[in-house]
């Protein structure tokens, strides 16, 4: 067994997991507190990438671009909440699916109009573009940046949720909405802030990934589905659940793609294994979700107070 490869793959899995967490944590809060299914949460991911990219293209440094784009994302999230999402909280889930599906089309079209149909590459500053040697392991610097950035946000968010007054309201809201209202919290403000923070984190994930993949139209439409899988597996409304489920799914997906064929060869001929492995590895996370839903529908780490 090639241990170096395994370690690299583990880091890849961790990277994917943390990106997923940035998307899923906002999604799970909006889902848990407002009971709102936001398919267009992935559009924030795309918009974040484009914001960051256009600031870099105008000569801004990458770090400054990220900071400015984060503020921009908070504003975008707040506007969307105020203008559209707020009107939909009381509607049924089918309406959420439809309206936010429409939002995806709108966002994709707007990006198309503003930035054109082709993708936008974001050059990295040379400091981040190199490689780091960790013992026998050589890793791209930027991968470590993504991982530490993701962990940093996870830590801040976890502090925010467990320690602050806002966090207390968020936790109460995720497990019992009527209670929060009874406590006299300004529910509209809470919803606005939660939604905007979610949009900001989703946008942050887009900014982090864009230097690797480049920003492109519809880049959020596939990953958002995986983020939903994370939310369901982790337990709707649970930030802690979203964290563990993100890492789990990031690892399953990455390791599945690289090792499943070896594993299958134990059971079947090489030919079959090579055909079946890609299909199965792409399906693994969905199988995981189906199994979780069938046997533990409240998710692996439901927020306290929720019982199925």
């Amino acid at each position: 067994m090639d241990w170096g490869l395994l370690l690299t793959q583990l880091m890849n899995g961790l990277q994917l997991g943390l990106l997923l967490f940035l998307l899923a944590s906002g999604l799970t809060l909006v889902f848990g507190i407002m009971d709102f299914i936001n398919l267009s949460h992935g559009s924030f991911y795309m918009i974040g990438a484009y914001f960051c990219g256009s600031i870099v293209a105008r000569g801004g440094s990458f770090l400054a671009a990220v900071l400015i784009a984060l503020i921009g994302m908070f504003v975008v999230g707040a506007v969307i909440e105020r203008v559209i999402a707020r009107r939909l909280y009381r509607a049924d889930h089918l309406d959420h699916v439809l309206a936010t599906f429409g939002l995806i089309l709108i966002f994709d079209a707007i990006v198309h109009i503003v930035w054109g149909p082709s993708g936008m590459a974001i050059p990295l500053p040379s400091v981040l573009d190199g490689q780091v040697t960790l013992g026998s392991l050589v890793l791209p610097t930027y991968r470590l940046v993504i991982i530490s950035g993701g962990l940093l946000v996870a830590a801040i968010l976890s502090m925010l949720v467990t320690r602050s007054r806002l966090g207390m309201m968020i936790r109460a809201g995720a497990s019992n909405r009527t209670m929060v209202e009874a406590l006299g919290v300004n529910i509209h403000k809470l919803f606005l802030v939660v939604f905007a923070i979610g949009a900001t984190m989703s946008g942050f994930a887009g900014m982090l990934i864009a230097p690797i993949t480049e920003a492109s139209i519809g880049m959020g439409n596939d990953i958002i589905i995986i983020a939903f899988v994370v939310v369901i597996v982790g337990g709707i409304g649970s930030v802690k659940g979203a964290f563990y489920a993100s890492i789990l799914i990031g690892l399953i997906d990455t390791l599945g793609r690289s090792y499943l064929d070896d594993l299958l060869e134990i059971f079947m001929s090489l030919d079959y294994a090579e055909t079946a492995a890609p299909a199965l590895s792409a399906m693994l996370v969905y199988i995981l979700m189906a199994v979780v839903l069938a046997f533990r529908p409240q998710g692996l780490f439901p927020p306290a107070g929720i019982r199925a």
Binding site: F31, I37, L39, I84, R87, L88, A91, H93, L94, D95, V97, L98, A99, F101, G102, L103, I104, L105, I106, F107, D108, A109, I110, H112, I113, P117, N221, I225, F228, V229, I232, I236, T275, P278, A279, A282, M283, Y286, I287, M289, A290, L293, A294, P297
Partner: protein, 331 residues
């Protein structure tokens, strides 16, 4: 009277609509617009799929965000045999029914243990599984899909060759589907399905094992949608996993809601609106400004949001409101 039956007035309108659809090929031939027949064929295939979704979603309250998977299954049940130069239509038909029923049974048996958003998400998960299965089947084109060179053959029966013949296959299937759903919904079985949408717990306490009835309904719906996929494969002559991406499933939901969820003819109206918009919205944008052609998703998305915010009941709902208003103001 029962709210889901078209009132006699609008019932007559829908009958007229069906008659128009029956003679459409002649009209288009006379007007020398073969392209319109293509558009209509595609629309009616999607209408069959949307009607099958309406059966579980509109009547049964089971919101599936993975119904396009069945379209893909049906299409590949034509495409894969055709890849081996096997064009027997009865075989295609049988295969479509068996495979879509089996998949519906399996996916439904797991999915229907959940409710609400969980059901939405798990149907999505199952369709993603099917999607990625076909993406990774490189023998059958993987991502790029398959070309079907010949249509299904039904020797000693009716031919599918030629656009008009295929159109009538599609039209007949749509008629059968509408009739079947209509009977189903008003039969004993349908009462259970409709009742379970409104209050499942109450229905269970009346002695109905709602899980099983819903599962049977889901399988019926899946098979109908599979048949739509079989027709779509024959119609386009080209199939790819993209047909079953979750975006397509979202569009199916749109068609049902746009037309009027829970009304027999709702999906037909909604699909009509969808295909019309998809075809003519770009041209309208181009008319406004030639460089706007590709931006047609913008008004389309706006329309969706507005539909949810203000258009309760879809086209059917608006028509019946209009109908009752004219009746009130009339003699």
């Amino acid at each position: 009277m029962m709210a889901w039956l078209p009132s006699s007035n609008s019932g007559r309108c829908y009958c007229l609509l069906l008659v128009l659809l029956a003679v459409a090929p002649w009209i288009f031939q006379w007007a020398d617009q073969p392209f319109l027949l293509d558009l209509l064929s595609r629309g009616l295939i999607l209408a069959i799929a949307a009607t099958s979704l309406n059966l579980i979603m509109g009547f049964g309250g089971m919101v599936s965000l993975g119904h396009a998977a069945f379209i893909g299954i049906g299409a590949y049940c034509v495409g894969i045999p055709a890849y081996y130069d096997f064009y027997n239509g009865w075989f295609h038909l049988g295969l479509t029914i068996v495979v879509s029923a089996s998949f519906a049974l399996l996916a439904g048996a797991v999915s229907l243990r959940t409710k609400g958003v969980y059901f939405i998400m798990i149907t999505l998960a199952f369709s993603q599984m099917i999607y990625f299965t076909f993406v990774s089947l490189e023998e059958y084109g993987g991502d790029d899909g398959l070309v079907i060179y010949l249509r299904s053959e039904f020797p000693d029966f009716l031919t599918m060759q030629g656009p008009v013949a295929l159109y009538y296959w599609i039209f007949a299937t749509l008629l059968l589907t509408l009739f079947l759903v209509h009977r189903l919904i008003h039969a004993h079985f349908g009462r259970v399905i409709v009742g379970a949408k409104h209050n499942e717990q109450r229905l269970q306490s009346l002695g109905f094992d709602t899980y099983r009835y819903r599962l049977v309904c889901y399988v019926i719906s899946g098979v109908i949608c599979g048949l739509a996929g079989m027709l779509l494969g024959n119609f386009t002559g080209f199939i790819s996993p993209e047909m079953m991406s979750w975006i397509r499933s979202g569009e199916l939901i749109f068609m049902v809601v746009m037309g009027g969820s829970g009304f027999l003819f709702g999906p037909l109206l909604g699909t009509g609106a969808f295909v019309f918009l998809e075809q003519y919205l770009p041209e309208f944008m181009k008319f406004l400004n030639p460089s706007w052609l590709e931006y047609w998703h913008l008004p389309f998305g706006l329309l969706l949001v507005l539909l949810v915010l203000f258009g309760k009941g879809g086209i059917h709902g608006m028509l019946s409101k209009l109908d009752s208003r004219t009746r009130q103001s009339g003699p």
